[in-house]
């Protein structure tokens, strides 16, 4: 078990992912992940349940960006991290036609020697998330 620091390098790594996705620079975001990454999407969404590898994650980000008409904006509200794990608290907004998305998301990640490995997340309003990305 370990103590955490908000300014831990793994917290910074996750902030960089968020900033890169917000800037539309998915390639930079992908570099922070292990080539063997697994990304789990919560149940109940029309999105695929599991994405594997950087190609898979690129496809996931691409789907979100496409369905939000490029308006997807994840903003980091806080991050806590250790050598092995990260939790980031995000505010995610997006607009499509006359539908707005505005949810808080807790995103969890395990960290390996070559980057973020297992990833999973839960919005505070799962129905709103599913409505927007259905």
């Amino acid at each position: 078990m370990s103590t955490t620091a908000t300014d831990h390098p793994n917290a910074q790594r996750m902030r960089e992912v968020t900033e890169a996705v917000t800037a539309g620079n998915v390639a930079v975001a992908l570099e922070r992940f292990s080539p063997d990454l697994v990304w789990y999407v919560p149940a109940g969404s029309s999105l695929e349940r599991v994405y594997r590898g950087r190609d898979g994650l690129q496809r996931f980000f691409g789907t979100l960006i496409q369905r939000s008409n490029g308006t997807l904006r994840p903003r980091a509200e806080d991050v806590v991290a250790s050598e092995d794990h990260v939790v980031i608290f995000l505010r995610i907004t997006a607009q499509r036609d006359d539908v707005d998305l505005n949810v808080r998301v807790a995103h969890f990640a395990a960290v390996g020697p070559d980057g973020l490995t297992r990833n999973w997340f839960l919005p505070d309003d799962m129905e709103a998330w599913n409505r927007f990305f259905s």
Partner: protein
């Protein structure tokens, strides 16, 4: 447990099983815990693997094991917490990475 919870706590349990969804308020959360204990016959064990925290937020990664109606569970559960100025929990998220195992256990 009650001492850790803000009166208006919002509690999110991920997944697609009978106990998943949102619970609001201390009594609702304690009822949720009572159902978990009752349905697992007290067999559920939680082993903290990693604990992360600052003044405002926390994260807990734990190994959860238990039995229910002849089924067993052994998963890593992640929890996220938001604290108020007194350190009480005001919002809570819980989700396992391999959520299908959890859904099958409770389903």
């Amino acid at each position: 447990m009650r001492a850790f919870l803000a009166e208006d706590i919002l509690w999110h349990v991920g997944g697609k099983h009978p106990l998943s969804g949102d619970y609001r308020g201390v009594e609702a959360v304690l009822d949720y815990y009572a159902k978990v204990r009752e349905q697992t016959g007290g067999t559920l064990t939680l082993e903290a693997v990693d604990i992360l925290a600052n003044d405002d937020h926390g994260g807990v990664f734990m190994r959860v094991r238990g039995e229910r109606e002849g089924k067993t569970i052994d998963v890593e559960l992640a929890e996220a917490l938001t604290f108020d100025a007194s350190g009480r929990w005001v919002e809570y998220w819980a989700l396992a990475d391999e959520q299908e195992k959890v859904d099958a256990f409770w389903g």
